[in-house]
Symmetry: C2
Subunit: 355 residues, 2 copies
């Protein structure tokens, strides 16, 4: 079975994480004494249940087990803080990006608009309630961590780690949103890679592993080892995501072909294509990128430009180099072998997946 | 001099608080490596400098000094976490309420719209950047507290206190926003008082005093004493605020007469007036409340109804009862006399102010 060790690891920990996560949120729903807050907190709970592979809390546990023999219950309780942080950031992100669906279910602001206890809401009011709902999820993340039963010193370090991660992710978000408003000719490759580093590599890969290391009071060498693996692999993950977003099979990705192009995403694919394009091609990119009404034919033309300019190969090559570097770093890493196996599988899965 | 002890207390502590606050934010601005984040963080800093009486961090220090002889520098450093929390919540609150000005200066979302580094933004994009800016300020609040140099156990308790306060304030916000969307005849007095308790009394008065007590590792009796003072006085503060909002002098309040009525705020004044109104008066209230275009004459008619129905007297009487109860509770409170004096002055100031 491919990715056997990774799958076994997730199969072992995800149910335990879900049990703690759902118990925490169920309690919060029950605590509400008015129908308005009950509705909002219930919607956070619904959003949490709506799917998600629990990659981040599972990596928190992997990060812990890279340094220790076994993970006590407090570590599972602490790991849900990362998923709650993720829920908080997704709730705000969906407002920022105007996304109405996530994993086939309404996003929180959309749900506020559709089902609110007092009938129809204006869009602004729905976004307002969802913004506050996100803020509530932030308090849940921190409180879950504080109430996990950790030693005070460990708790302090873990809360600091969580907020430093949230801070960096915020900077990544500002940069991402800002680049989408920046003309394509002014977007530099390094800005795009910086967004990938902050919003994906550090947030989804390095952050959880570091949080686990923090919970284990691990030495600096372990933090460094996780960074050497997670940052290149995380950037590669995002590059692959962008490739699938443009060249992937609609049936597998669940996203319409060309949606990244119609949304005007500043991917390395498009930035590099623009850089190497002829004047005619540049004109076409500028005309199509970020235009909701772009035709299927126009999308195909952009895809051709991405290939003809060598931009697709450039992204693929960079992705492979980063992936190799990340995997190679594990060889001498001072972390437990079982965790190395899981991380190797994960990296391979990332590069080979098509959805 | 009236309120002498309060004024002296603020005069002593506010400059120290500001010094720490500004040093913290200046450092965050300097840390930014791209112009987009520099702009956002700089705007948080501008917003922090734009005024504010630092009531909350000063009350953190009062809460500490109610239990201890003197406040070391770590406590001042920790107190700015409350102001940063306040900045975070105000940034989001101004988006929620669509406020363009605060203390005569543009709010953060408005500033993003006016001065962004890349020219004009759509309103949604400006709100998106401000939402993320608020989220960044949340991380600053928590990190300021964690980096104040407290003992780990104290830090854990203080961070928990801060997030429990933010959680309760979030519930108050949801309730407040929801009530404004609820027809006036369905808004109950207890809902309005609950918003006042969560959004004003606990957030602005009890929360800071409890945070100070937490930093002092004070016994439960001190927390209880602060609650007995702060909750009634805080609700009274909001009732007075609502009275000034409708009957105050525009020149002193800086807010146009009737703006609370035009915005459709669910104050006790209006809820109680509606409850006791004649059918004709009810009809008028429903026609005017929440209508931006209401005329000066209509506003005067609503003010008359608030007086004729006895609603103004009702609010005044409740406010005075709460205030007396809060002040009386100080007599037997196990807190230091100097702090009691400050809190008595503060309560008296609240009830007598006209702006």
């Amino acid at each position: 079975m491919p990715y056997e060790r990774m799958k076994a690891f997730f199969a072992e920990w995800v149910p335990k994480i879900d049990r703690e996560l759902y118990a925490f949120l169920e309690k919060k729903v029950k605590e509400q004494t008015d129908p308005y807050n009950k509705r909002v907190v219930d919607d956070i709970y619904r959003f949490a249940k709506a799917g998600g592979k629990r990659v981040r809390p599972t990596l928190v546990i992997a990060g812990y087990l890279g340094a220790r023999e076994s993970a006590p219950n407090e570590v599972i309780k602490a790991s849900i803080a990362y998923e709650l942080l993720h829920i908080y950031l997704l709730i705000h992100d969906d407002i920022v990006d105007r996304d109405e669906l996530r994993r086939g279910q309404p996003t929180v602001w959309k749900s506020m608009m559709d089902h609110y206890v007092r009938g129809d809401l204006e869009r602004h009011d729905a976004e307002a309630l969802a913004t506050i709902g996100g803020d509530l999820a932030e308090t849940y993340a921190t409180l879950a961590l504080l109430n996990a039963g950790l030693e005070p010193e460990t708790a302090v370090n873990a809360v600091r780690e969580l907020h430093e991660i949230a801070e960096r992710t915020g900077y990544g978000q500002v940069l991402d949103v800002s680049l989408e408003m920046t003309p394509i000719e002014d977007v530099r490759e390094e800005d795009v890679l910086r967004v990938h580093e902050l919003k994906t590599a550090k947030y989804t890969m390095e952050g959880p592993l570091h949080m686990g290391a923090q919970l284990a009071n691990a030495p600096k060498e372990i933090f460094d080892a996780y960074s050497k693996y997670a940052v290149p692999v995380g950037i590669a993950f995002q590059l692959q995501d962008d490739i699938i977003g443009v060249f992937g099979d609609e049936k597998k990705t669940g996203k319409p072909v060309g949606s990244d192009i119609r949304e005007g995403k500043r991917t390395l694919l498009i930035v590099k294509a623009y850089e190497n394009a002829t004047d005619a091609q540049k004109k076409l990119i500028k005309a199509v990128l970020g235009r909701e009404s772009a035709t299927a034919e126009e999308i195909e033309e952009i895809k051709d430009i991405i290939m003809e300019t060598g931009s697709l190969d450039y992204s693929k090559k960079l992705m492979e180099e980063l992936m190799e570097r990340g995997i190679a770093s594990l060889e001498t890493a001072p972390i437990k072998e079982e965790v190395k196996d899981v991380l190797r599988d994960l990296a391979e899965y990332i590069i080979k997946r098509d959805r």
